[in-house]
């Protein structure tokens, strides 16, 4: 693929980086990332991946934009309230960077459709807010050998970890084992979240996706990064593969995907 004059200029700050260069930028343009959840984590990730020239971005979300989303979901604007999140996000990405093909899924993912959807992409970003979805994404990614970035946020703290099943790195289930009982999950509306925290953590997820696609640097595998915005502490906690892990352990009992009951948690 030859770069146009416009592309050379658009991506000049990438191309000048030794770790990216023309070759790396070309890789990004030929890559695809699926973002599950076009909300607090997914929209900042989508913005930076689109700006970076990731050639194909898939967006999964069945919800519409609500006024209370705008405090942190900065890709959605006031006139978008009531529109489908995936349409609103696609619209902005198209205007930001015409090099990016955006594929939208106004669906809920479940055991019956997730594998087929993730198969099409090189890297997955989990930007969902609930544990049934997080475990489903983890298990499907492990089964399909798809690398992904997990993240969660609440109040002033966030966490993120990267899982690369083909390199046998610890998975989300290695650390968290099973979803918490639905009754134990606090209402996220009550808990609240600092808007900018979503942006920081979503941008970290995009960073991991780009590094994976470029095959540069060290990924956040085998580590859970914890970010406390109040104390401004970033702390990496080393995690190991769990031999008893239900999906990637020595004798995994989970061979079919599970649709857990939803623990209500609308962020």
């Amino acid at each position: 693929m030859d770069f146009t004059e416009e592309q050379l200029e658009r991506y000049s700050r990438h191309i000048i980086l030794q770790e990216v260069g023309v070759e790396g930028q070309q890789k990004l343009l030929e890559s695809s990332v699926l973002i599950i959840g076009a909300g607090g984590l997914g929209t900042p990730a989508a913005q930076f991946l689109a700006a970076a020239g990731v050639g194909k971005i898939g967006l999964v979300d069945a919800d519409q934009v609500e006024l209370s989303n705008l405090q942190r979901q900065v890709l959605h604007h006031t006139p978008d309230v009531g529109r489908l999140k995936v349409e609103s996000a696609k619209n902005k990405i198209n205007s930001m960077n015409p090099d990016v093909e955006v594929k939208t899924y106004r669906d809920y993912l479940y055991s019956g459709n997730i594998k087929e959807v993730i198969r099409e992409y090189d890297f997955i970003i989990d930007g969902t807010d609930n544990f049934p979805a997080k475990f489903l994404i983890n298990d499907a990614a492990v089964m399909e050998d798809k690398p992904f970035s997990h993240a969660g946020i609440i109040k002033f703290t966030g966490q993120t970890m990267t899982v690369v099943p083909s390199e046998d790195t610890p998975c989300y289930r290695c650390v968290f084992i099973d979803p918490p009982p639905p009754g134990a999950v606090p209402s996220c509306k009550e808990a609240g979240v600092l808007g900018v925290l979503a942006g920081v953590v979503g941008a970290l997820q995009a960073t991991e996706a780009i590094k994976y696609l470029l095959d540069k640097g060290d990924l956040l595998t085998g580590n859970l990064l914890n970010y406390d915005a109040l104390s401004m502490d970033f702390r990496k906690i080393e995690v190991k593969k769990n031999p008893d892990c239900g999906v990637c352990g020595e004798d995994p009992e989970i061979t079919e995907l599970i649709d857990y009951e939803q623990g209500a948690c609308e962020l």
């Binding site: 969660g152 609440i154 966030g158 650390v175 999950v185 702390r235 995690v239 190991k240 962020l267």
Partner: protein, 73 residues
Amino acid sequence: MKIQVNGKKVEYENELTVKELLKEEDVDMPEMVSVELNGEILAKDKFDSQLIKDGDQVEFLYFMGGGSNDGLH
């Protein structure tokens, strides 16, 4: 005994179970925490019986949702 909890040094007079430590460390909802003891994830059914000993390193890893409610229903 001296132990480390989430990277910070703390002291307790006597050995205590993981469940007791969660309470001492003011963890409101232990069901929203995964516990790593000296680098290994501890099965939840051992919280009651597993003793924390001098020199142990404990991490409380919190379940965090966040993002967007879209993945499934």
